[in-house]
């Protein structure tokens, strides 16, 4: 899996490309937690090019969301493909995680 990190003003953007499973989730966890440790309070995860997610990927998203909330920050998840979104729905995570349709929507929410 490829993770592209970008910054727009004070927003850290993580673009995920490929598959987020138990084999790749650790790398993503390290990157996103590094940003949180460095004081990032506004984070967007862009799912546009993510083809697959398992519970290991959901676990990292949940853990990061909890950590950012503790710092009074905000995380937005955007542009999920249908199958990926369905995994969030099956897990019931769509009811409490901020999922929006596009990157523009995500940027506007800060």
């Amino acid at each position: 899996m490829e993770i592209i990190e970008e910054k727009q003003s004070d927003i850290n953007i993580f673009k995920l490309n490929g598959r987020l499973d138990s084999n790749t989730s650790q790398g993503f966890e390290q990157k996103i937690f590094q940003a949180i440790t460095d004081g990032s309070k506004h984070v967007i995860v862009d799912f546009k090019d993510l083809d697959y997610i398992s519970s290991a990927g959901l676990r990292v998203i949940l853990k990061a969301t909890k950590a950012i909330k503790r710092e009074d920050g905000q995380i937005m998840l955007c542009a999920m493909q249908d199958y990926v979104k369905e995994v969030f729905e099956i897990a019931g995570f769509d009811s409490f995680l901020p999922i929006v349709a596009t990157m523009d929507d995500a940027l506007k929410s800060f």
Binding site: D21, S22, N23, S54, S55, L62, K66, I90, A91
Partner: protein, 143 residues
């Protein structure tokens, strides 16, 4: 759908998930499964495989996990076999549906996903092996 059994072996390493994905895509294309179905089968087997690798083996030895896929008339039968410690995932109750980030617990999520995706789950312990059989109904699938 013809009765053709398709089986392969995976080593006990998480990096084998890429191999699992390739094998399932090959299989799915061969028998004409929809992309959605391939995704769901992949996810269910990934969750089981990850559980086996994470909790199943108390040693550093390499183990083999055998996967067998059998298309039947209106269902697809998936079987996953390992020689790890006895573990019956069907013993686990479904987690409560979380209402907020704060109350959400992650334990049991993999099993919850498998239950939602599959129509039948059956566990057997036989000759020192865990044998888990999953069934997915194909009759509602538009491929």
């Amino acid at each position: 759908m013809a009765k053709k059994e398709f089986s392969f072996e995976l080593k006990s390493s998480l990096s084998e998930l890429d191999n699992l994905c390739e094998k399932l895509e090959d299989f799915g294309q061969k028998i004409g499964l929809s992309k959605k179905l391939i995704f769901e089968i992949n996810l269910a087997l990934d969750e089981l495989f990850t559980n086996i690798i994470s909790y199943g083996f108390g040693d550093e030895e390499e183990h083999i996990i055998k996967v067998t896929l059998t298309p039947q008339k209106e269902e697809l039968c998936l079987c996953i076999e390992d020689d790890g410690t006895p573990f019956n995932p069907t013993d686990f109750a479904a987690p409560d549906v979380a209402a907020s980030v704060e109350n959400c617990k992650i334990g049991g999520l993999g099993i919850h996903i498998i239950r939602k995706l599959m129509d039948e789950i059956c566990y057997q312990r036989c000759d020192g092996k865990n044998i888990l059989t999953l069934k997915k109904n194909l009759s509602n699938e538009a491929s």
